[in-house]
Symmetry: C2
Subunit: 465 residues, 2 copies
């Protein structure tokens, strides 16, 4: 099976198609360079051409032509993913959805939208009805809703609503298959798991129905403490205050704030641990009461009442994956982990792991709900030395009982629970019989017997020049 | 100190004042007759006169005159409380707030309202902005917001938002004191605990600021199961589904539905345990998916799609204290308990207690959040035999580790944790120096050394005729 790029391009020439090297290379990359491991392996990856469909009908045209000519199709939103999700390992076509941005319907509690709509623009549209999306990535200003669903798992808002995979956090997905005659399918309920967080490996999402939450003028807050345990407990306890509505509770071990948060630096010492919060305005009285009960913490910033000469911008742009981004900009040797510290032992486990890697790992926690209980997602900052040491750090985390979603791997399985997702695999067999969608991301498709004892290397990966 | 009723009435004659026996007696009663214990002790209680102020200025007039003439003042909303909260043990004045009903301000996430506004009317006003109150009692159609705050603790909505006493569930209370020159005070933060759930013993609430939640066309649902454990687990697990928004999750042990819920009876057998739910419409797809995963449960009613010849009305009017009311109407020998089964052992404790009183206690559970975790409030139906047996049943509950808030007592302490609330007591000393506000409800005021080993009997209670 050899891709006939020329024939596919000719068949799609009437669409918005680009094949010049520079824009194609730009559209073939995401934030994979967060990881030195992925940076070394994927930097050379590039597609042959990029198509930007304006409608679902054009998506179908692209998939049909590429199917006919055996051309791989890697779908892309804004390319803010961190694991090479949107990178075309075998070249071929990048299907760029940034022209499909229509917000089609807004009703109480729900919105219907095309996948290329920016999270920011979606919230702006929903805001006209006093609503907003339940959760978003810290790349809200630049990321798309389709990319968030196909490549994300949760984020700002997960402290209240849990993760995207939880029942109710996606209502409906409309999906086009990669067949001789592409089918258009509407998925709800159990079917949603087929294509959610599947990196576009088994279908292309063309319409999304999401639940909405009420929109508020969230108050952005930073609280500082010289006691890491006090900072961690504050975030955890606040997330367990049923009457106080929050959207974010992040914990940054010292010296993160002083070393990496440039606009916060004048207000936080090297030994200050920081808590970043978004609190609903009508919960502020209660929050201030909550805070006053706790010794050893001090509010250094609230967006509705402060005297900082230069404001820090949205607090959520310090959290989730933005923390790593800010650290990387100051210290290029920084990389990160994605850890899960589950209720009820989450605090003790964080303390134990914190004691294990002094000077090498810096704790960054996000309070999140899972199965109704608050625990922590850890996006630990790591001073990178070698791949071997990074693997060792991960192994030690796992030995101590923390689950690691390895951000230094490009496959669905290795970045997840290292098990085959039978639902996604079964649907790929049906919806992408030639295996042309985002090749190299689903190990189970390539090598069902893979044992995960070492990093998977996609055998058909483009050769580096 | 002897009340000069005649002088007080004369001073207040220009207000809306009633002293005819029948209306005064009607305004002197609440739902105390839920309890055979309270029914025996309080049935004769009646005030000397009733005043219905139209404004805060009139409230101040009443308090000033009654203070001057040593007349007790017992404040009342709709009188839907169950513990004699609004009953004037020494006679005197009933201050009826049902004319102070103004909704003064509605903003995103908050409302300012007068205390006599019915919960139903408050929700109707807030609904114009797509909002509603976070929680309400099952007496929503007839109860007032002031009565709910002064005499209630939570209810429909507590499965998401916790209890009224939780930080953030009341924003501000404006309170008038009972002094020679009444003061008007605005309470927020820690100060709210002074007068919340204080039965009007230490100040009169004249304005309330509450947080709001988004309003939805909640879908009312009944699910039946022949397996009590499956019904209980369903309510608990659903309340822990972070992505599914619900407002109510009630569990009714068999034969409650068949025996006491007349409109449900044709659809539920004698051995059916019932779960009553309110689910947000945009969570229904997810809920149906959740339900399909569980064996042994069947949805017998959903308000948005059913073929019952006669609908059951709002599902919340089967829950909380309405369950007892419906049972009482069918079987006058029924009374109830108020039990707390705390996370994480709540299910096991319910099962253990259920096994202890076969045929005598029928479990009725409400899923509620406390400190961020879902547990159960039990409003157990009890077939009443004697006061001694009722006390014994309570003692056995407590011995097994369930906390009981005894609904067969009329004092704050005995209906609560049987400890003095120092904050409320201290404020009563300041705000009601003559002890005229709702006398007999705060043991700590009357008898600081009371040991709670037997039921408190207010020594100045009116004599029965």
């Amino acid at each position: 099976m050899t891709a006939d790029i020329t024939a596919a391009k000719a068949a799609l020439a009437h669409l918005d198609l680009v094949d010049a090297e520079t824009p194609v290379r730009a559209a073939s990359r995401d934030f994979f360079w967060y990881s030195p491991v992925l940076k070394a392996r994927l930097d050379h990856v590039t597609a042959d051409f990029v198509v930007r469909p304006r409608t679902e009908a054009e998506v179908i045209e692209v998939l049909k032509a590429c199917y006919q000519h055996d051309v791989p199709v890697t779908t892309r939103g804004a390319g803010t993913g961190n694991y090479g999700q949107a990178m075309p390992f075998e070249g071929g076509c990048v299907l760029h959805l940034n022209r499909m941005t229509e917000v089609r319907e807004i009703a109480p509690g729900r919105v219907v939208v095309e996948p290329g709509c920016l999270l920011k623009d979606l919230d702006a549209a929903c805001g006209e009805t006093g609503q907003e999306i339940r959760m978003f990535s810290s790349t809200w200003a630049t990321a798309t809703i389709g990319g968030f669903i196909a490549g994300g798992s949760g984020g700002v808002g997960s402290v209240t609503w849990g993760s995207l995979r939880d029942l109710g956090n996606i209502i409906r997905l409309r999906v086009v298959t990669m067949e001789a005659e592409p089918r258009v399918l509407d998925f709800t309920g159990e079917e949603l798991a087929r294509v959610s967080h599947a990196y576009g490996t088994n279908g292309i999402i063309t319409e999304i129905e999401m639940p909405l939450a009420p929109a508020y003028d969230w108050v952005d807050i930073f609280v500082a403490s010289e006691d890491f345990g006090a900072a961690m407990a504050l975030a955890d306890d606040l997330a367990n205050e049923d009457g106080l509505l929050i959207k974010l509770a992040s914990v940054y071990e010292a010296p993160t704030a002083h070393a990496y948060f440039q606009r916060v630096r004048p207000h936080a010492s090297e030994s200050d641990h920081l808590v970043g919060l978004m609190v609903a305005p009508h919960s502020m009285d209660g929050f201030v009461t909550f805070l006053a009960r706790r010794p050893g913490v001090r509010m250094i910033y609230r967006s509705d009442d402060h005297n900082w000469p230069r404001g820090p911008g949205p607090v959520f742009e310090y959290g989730w994956n933005h923390t790593t981004l800010r650290a990387l900009k100051v210290d290029p040797s920084i990389t990160y982990l994605q850890v899960r510290y589950g209720f009820p032992d989450h605090r003790a486990l964080v303390e134990e792991i914190r004691d294990t890697f002094p000077g090498e790992c810096i704790q960054h926690l996000e309070a999140i709900r899972a199965h109704g209980k608050v625990g922590f997602a850890g996006l630990t900052l790591v001073k990178f030395s070698t791949e071997e040491r990074l693997d060792e750090i991960i192994r030690i985390h796992e030995e101590k009982g923390a689950m690691v979603f390895n951000p230094h791997r490009y496959t669905l399985e290795e970045g997840g629970r290292q098990t085959v997702d039978d639902v996604q695999l079964a649907f790929k067999r049906e919806a992408d019989p030639k295996g042309l969608l985002n090749p190299g991301k689903m190990i189970a498709w390539d090598d069902p017997d893979w044992a995960y004892e070492r990093m998977y290397a996609y055998p058909r990966m483009q050769a580096a020049e």
